[in-house]
Symmetry: C2
Subunit: 627 residues, 2 copies
């Protein structure tokens, strides 16, 4: 029986993100999908600003952008007016208070995005087996290394395979065989369900905001407009709601009916379709799976675990994060770095985010569906004069951080340091008193200059998604921190440090040209000096163990308008002392683990060993540091 590290069911966003990562990291992957080919038309299409960061970190952004997706910078709100509808305001899709590299939503057909992942999987020697489906699975304990037996079949019912695997992952979507077989229930938080129509097409119209994202409330109903690639536009229109007196979850509408409805809503503007690319009607409820895994061998993610309305464009983005969160944890367990018990954090972290999403979605959907007072009903208001900002607009604005993807915040746990963590050094820096970085949230973006080639780069993007913890040494002023840096390096050199304990076995034969993992796959180091680039001589400024990461040494010498008066903008943005610096540990998925003061003596390395000691497989520290 063939054995795999992981069997992935489903090649939608969550399955493809996971498959791409596992294939890159050298795992043996069996990946099936029950569709004969990638999504041909329609379905999800929104890539939030934060997801674009992630795709770039994987080197996939350029392939996505090559399709010339639509970019949504602003959302326009349209409300009832005497003459039909009128624009009552606009709001940035990702406002300036969010420090985003790409402050827009990217709209591209799901099938094109899937193909970007598939091409990467194939480049790395993998493939998606289609159209195949899962027919059974069992964690029968007969093989402790590969405990899960999975039965697969061609959808035509003839060819069959049974394989063994370390992990089974279901990215099957809302209708999940795995979830059903496990007996995991979906909780429907909000009893209200909706039937939605969605139509992609090319239109002619004099509606001025047809290339913007718009939420339109009219006396004739509500509609959402979303621009797409290839001059297309998507319309979301609510067909039925469980609050309707004649609620029927099977209620449908023809293409023609939806177009007629849209025409009425858009009055006084006209709209005609040159062609319709895709049209679908589907019921949506806000559901969340009660468990993401039962045995930490069979896991689920994506729509399999959380369903919600499509209008906030969160589905694909949440799926991406599910997959990344899962991938690096499995990787650290399978690499012998982390204890198996870390796997429980997949569910605790990701279910929290799904919960937040559903709460937001329920509120948003309800407000969107609510009929606004028509112009005639607003007592005393001048016709055509915008009313007070309504509840919907207020909710929209308040939710920008969440919907842009930058609001994802994991609770404290073994990875996300807090005062309750087992590591208790007084050197851990806390938010907001001592650092602007928050554990469980992303590293703040900063622009710096790479020493070796003077390239101006985005620091948060410099270490690729390689499965390693990212150790950012903000080294302050070289003259101030010289001794602290050397003490840190000496501490790293100890056999009992996380550095010494997880040194790769082939460390002596690693290529001269290895940039990220010369010592260990457990971590990558980057150092940032508060100094002008040309003044930093790496071999003088850093002890050999840190100088070895020569391609990841930076000068914090680029002015930033968010901290206009600081000399070292990256240090300042992180809220670190510009002279004394600090050490920031970032998880492999880009979320901050902990922030530690950079001091002379063994304090810094001791704190780091304590932090990593909470979840690694070896005991760290404990010997008397000889400093």
């Amino acid at each position: 029986m063939e054995k795999y590290d992981i069997v992935i069911i489903g090649a939608g966003p969550v399955g493809l993100m996971l498959g791409t990562i596992m294939q890159r990291w050298g795992y043996k992957v069996k990946h099936i999908d029950n569709r004969a080919e990638p999504t041909p038309t329609g379905r999800a299409d929104g890539i939030q600003p934060r997801s674009l960061d992630l795709l770039r970190n994987m080197g996939l952004k350029r392939a996505v952008m090559a399709h010339e997706p639509a970019k949504v910078y602003e959302v326009a709100f349209w409300d009832p007016s005497a003459r039909g509808i009128q624009r009552t305001g606009t709001w940035a899709s990702c406002p300036k208070f969010i420090d985003a590299r790409y402050p827009f939503t990217t709209l591209l057909h799901q099938g094109l995005i899937e193909r970007v992942f598939i091409a990467d999987i194939e480049k790395n020697g993998g493939r998606i087996q289609r159209p195949w489906t899962i027919t059974g699975f069992e964690n029968n304990g007969m093989d402790t290394e590969y405990p899960v037996e999975v039965s697969l079949a061609h959808v035509d019912g003839e060819a069959r395979e049974t394989v063994r695997t370390k992990y089974l992952f279901s990215g099957e979507g809302a209708r999940s065989f795995v979830r059903e077989k496990l007996g995991v229930q979906m909780h429907y938080k909000d009893p209200i369900a909706h039937v939605w129509g969605v139509m992609d097409g090319v239109v002619r119209t004099d509606f001025p905001d047809i290339k913007m994202k718009c939420t339109i409330h009219s006396d004739a109903g509500s509609i959402m407009v979303i621009p797409r690639e290839d001059n297309m536009v998507r319309l979301y229109i609510q067909i039925a709601s469980s609050t309707d007196p004649d609620w029927n979850p099977r209620k449908s509408a023809t293409e023609q009916e939806v177009q007629d409805h849209a025409r009425k809503i858009l009055q006084p503007y006209y709209i005609e379709w040159d062609r319709v690319e895709w049209y679908s009607v589907y019921p949506i409820g806000q559901g969340i799976a009660e468990k993401y895994t039962l045995d930490e061998r069979v896991f689920m993610g994506g729509d399999c675990c959380h369903t919600h309305s499509p209008k906030a464009g969160q589905g694909m983005n949440t799926a991406f994060l599910d997959a990344q969160n899962f991938a690096w944890k499995i990787h650290h367990v399978e690499s012998g770095f982390a204890s198996r018990n870390i796997l429980s954090t997949y569910e605790t972290e990701r279910k929290l985010i799904a919960d937040n999403l559903l709460n937001f979605d329920a509120k948003y959907a309800k407000l969107f569906s609510a009929r606004l007072p028509s112009a005639g009903e607003v007592a005393g208001a001048h016709k055509d004069e915008p009313a007070e900002e309504n509840e919907f607009v207020k909710t929209f604005k308040a939710s920008c951080e969440f919907t842009s993807g930058y609001g994802v915040a994991y609770d404290p746990n073994i990875f996300n340091w807090s005062a309750d963590h087992s590591a208790r050094s007084p050197l851990f820096l806390t938010y907001p008193e001592n650092t602007k970085l928050r554990t469980g949230r992303i590293l703040i973006p900063a622009t710096v200059t790479r020493i070796v080639d003077a390239n101006v780069v985005h620091l948060e993007q410099e270490i690729p998604l390689n499965g390693s913890f990212r150790i950012y040494v903000f080294a302050g002023k070289p003259s101030t921190t010289h001794r602290a840096i050397n003490d840190l390096a000496r501490g790293l050199g100890s056999k009992r440090s996380f550095f010494g304990a997880f040194t790769r076995e082939d460390v002596d034969s690693v290529s001269y040209h290895e940039r990220e993992n010369p010592h260990s796959k457990f971590f990558t180091v980057a150092t940032v000096f508060n100094a002008p680039r040309a003044s930093v001589d790496i071999s003088e400024a850093l002890p050999p163990v840190l100088a070895r990461y020569r391609d990841h040494v930076y000068a914090d010498d680029i002015w930033d308008h968010r901290v206009p008066d600081s000399k070292a903008a990256a240090h300042a943005k992180m809220g670190l002392d510009q002279d004394e610096g600090g050490v920031v540990i970032v998880r492999p998925d880009g979320y901050v683990g902990c922030v530690v003061k950079l001091v002379e003596g063994s304090g810094t390395i001791d704190a780091l060993n304590d932090y990593f000691g909470a979840f690694v497989t070896k005991k760290l520290g404990g010997e008397q540091a000889q400093l």
Copy 2:
């Protein structure tokens, strides 16, 4: 006998740029190259900042960047010191005083760049016929429409073809059959010739600037270091000069000799090669062809017309501009827009640039080759203390605008308005008194917001390289210019305006979705208002003829650090009145043609008609405007 619009000989940078453009614009192209395949290794590799703009304007930048080229932001100067060599300074490759979108040089193997063009040609139905060569040609006047007969042969000497063409273009490189047959002489301006060695490879070294562009002068000789894609580095080393006492243009050196020489120059640093990708030795002289064409049917461009040392990275960039300059002029003649006599400006414009390049190159090469005083010889200087900035560094810094590609400046002629132009309206704005734009130079870059979708865009990139003149209406404040804009639109509506005279025949059946050329292939219009985006309603702000370019209407509402106090940064950067605006005509290749005041009445349209009237095939204006 098969007939073509153009036969292109050579698929290096100039031939491929030309072939790509002509194929896109729908011409029937015969394109041959005597090599069996694109450049496999080595040769040119430097894309200057301005060339990256051009590639982006053609939608080809992303494909180039997908190869992860090296980027040179800074150049380091190394000079002799007591311990061997020392860095005496660094300088930005494209300093901040140059307003560049991409302030770096992009380094990528010529073959990869060629393939980007070839893929585009093939996507548009063309191909390069290889390995074929030209064996003869003749402008025999037997066919007035296709006057040139060209004989082609497979390089193995068996297959042969004879075709007729409107134009023959030689992009053959320094050794040109066409140039020789025409009897066009090369002028060698500087009698000094050099033999250069160039080596691409992967190295191990402790030389700290190996990923920077470096010019190194040592007591053991001089060398230039240029980083490349795939972790490679290129070394240029001078092997012989005609100023040497034992000068021999056939002098060579082995790979081993060059490496040994490099090792000596780089002392006290070590350098070892993991592998050598390419090594070549070649003689270089500063030559320029006395003519680029004799009959305005057979043309030449690229290295065929100008040869020089490779160190300033200008060859490919100059070739690109030769091709673009040639392409749009041929296009306007063949489209019936422009008189045939405009073709003479190809040589006058491009030869001037080649002349400038050769002057720069001669000076630069001479200084680079000159032995600098070694540390011991600098009387009174402290050892290891950098000397005064030497002549080489001074020349380098002074030449940044030129080497970045932004220094290209065409002299006044029929396209580049000056007081000597036949159009003499007092409304033409002049530099530096009334505008910061200079005719014959590029449009100043500016960031604006597109009205229809709120996308923040680069104005100078918004109109693609489509062969059309670009009419930028800087419309100032809508309330101020409302009447002037309407008067301009009315003037455009006249049959005797450039607009009316060159209206496309199929104007009534042009697609609703046509963005750039709804009225004519002769021009594309873009309008920029000094107003916040959400305040501009295109159908109210613009008369229908201008509103038709709805995808090219912009709000000048993005702050720019170069004009921090202005409310309308794009207007301010162009040096136009922020309330009253102005009209800027940009040639199809991106160079400013003229700048005209935007006034009420017929003055603006009259001035534009006079400007275009200087070179179009129809008489413009002359009727009494009824305003």
